[in-house]
Subunit: 324 residues, 2 copies
Amino acid sequence: MQDKWIVGVDLGGTTTKLAFLTTSGEILQKWEIPTDNSDEGRNITCNIAKAINEKLASLGENKNRLIGIGMGAPGPVDYENGVILNVVNLGWKENYPLKEQLEVTTALPAAIENDANCAALGEMWKGAGGGAKDLVCVTLGTGVGGGVIIGGNIVQGSNGAAGEIGHITAIPNGGAPCNCGKTGCLETVASATGIVRLATKEILKGDLKGELAAKQAANGKITAKDVFDSARNGDQMAVKVLDEVTFHLGLVLANIGNTLNPQKIVIGGGVSKAGDILLNSVKQQFNQFAFSSVKKSTELALATLGNDAGVIGAAWLIKNKLNL
Amino acid sequence: MQDKWIVGVDLGGTTTKLAFLTTSGEILQKWEIPTDNSDEGRNITCNIAKAINEKLASLGENKNRLIGIGMGAPGPVDYENGVILNVVNLGWKENYPLKEQLEVTTALPAAIENDANCAALGEMWKGAGGGAKDLVCVTLGTGVGGGVIIGGNIVQGSNGAAGEIGHITAIPNGGAPCNCGKTGCLETVASATGIVRLATKEILKGDLKGELAAKQAANGKITAKDVFDSARNGDQMAVKVLDEVTFHLGLVLANIGNTLNPQKIVIGGGVSKAGDILLNSVKQQFNQFAFSSVKKSTELALATLGNDAGVIGAAWLIKNKLNL
């Protein structure tokens, strides 16, 4: 099996990431193609199959080098049946049989999973997980996603909704509206969007002046990165926003710790690029709210795979399914 | 195997419950003995072995009728190694090899687990679980315990601290001190003790008069049952306390739902005897804070096994271990 490759695919709304990996998870080739959402998403799996064949040809490799394909997709997935339940922005109708379509077009055994879960599996296998089989991953991006892994397997939940960490209610009273229809979800404060929202609110209050407010005045907008950059420089308003974000994030992660006591809680996604200033502040809050033995035994860590987590986790899916 | 029995034991600080069960979980005999904590807990396993032999003799049965023993014990348990990590009130020193001692004294294969986890397994097997393999159980008693079951197995956690639902921080700012050293834990508001504390605080405020305040005046104290009884009668103060309790409990359970999306969340323990007035109020709060697909697919239910949950879950432990 050592000379065989597996294919990992991370399907996004605009770009699809692909990779060939060894069965021990080393990326040999990675590349991207645009995602074609037209015609009710009918071209998506064909384009993936075509891209794989073209890449093989360009490498002078034969199709029998490949033994399986794993894929992460946005939105809720029925893992057992290989069905995407609902992904409006990819054009697919409800209950699209993605695994079957992928198997037909690529002629490879396939497995599919939600993309946040794939990222969690990737971090478990080759990233910050470091061998941990009980691991929770929270992805702070435009939104907030999550994946819960127990005993090396993703917890799916009764309706595929396990790991909806972004929709944990962080602010039960008077929280901001969330896209999901609730209010006060973690996503409203700990996503890039949420951080900008909190910062903009502070700026509009006008009580504090300084670097962050100046950036807003100069550029007409700020980003989550601006908040972390200014906080690193000691800007009072940015530090206040950072404290608010990490208070809620630390509390939520501590309560997940108190429920599951995983070996690791991994913080990933674009926002996690802020690095230690984020991690240290979350840890401080986590330690305040975690049960003593959880505090001692559940470690917080930053994700290490960046954008590769998805394709690596997708590859793990099919490796695991085929018992490689 | 159908004519073989398993032994379930639920070890408490003052009383030890024992039962003989069929391999399909029907209780054939149940009885209790006092727990003898003296002499660093040395007599506990001997007394259990003796009680089993005496009961067999009284039934005219032979020892080879039995095929295994499962036991739930208070405090953190290392399930793999069969070790009790720390149980001060039973006299045992740290890392007491309970499974081994139980096997030596009873000459039966043994399995041990934390008592709250046993109750959860019992409810899964023969109680409110109704076949659910992903189930969270919260036990509202003097304290608040919990058990998390994924795929039919207890989630142990990195340091045996999974399921510490009572120590989820429900009130991050200004909460009451908890026995665990933190403040604002769910246990400080949703245990019998916590409910009495909240009610007493209301009574001392003196803003509201009525049935509950009158009970306190008449008896010099109130119980959690008094609060539910008066709430059922529409007493304004009791309803206020109930709302406060179920707001926090519903929020915590919804956030567990958002993390794990289990098929069932079962509410047990003495406080759960309050019945529908508790369940309905918790459901209302849960629905407010649960992610839409969690609300649809995670069901809240009251425990149905009462005090038998522990011995039934303990029996399941050994049944499962022996693959019966």
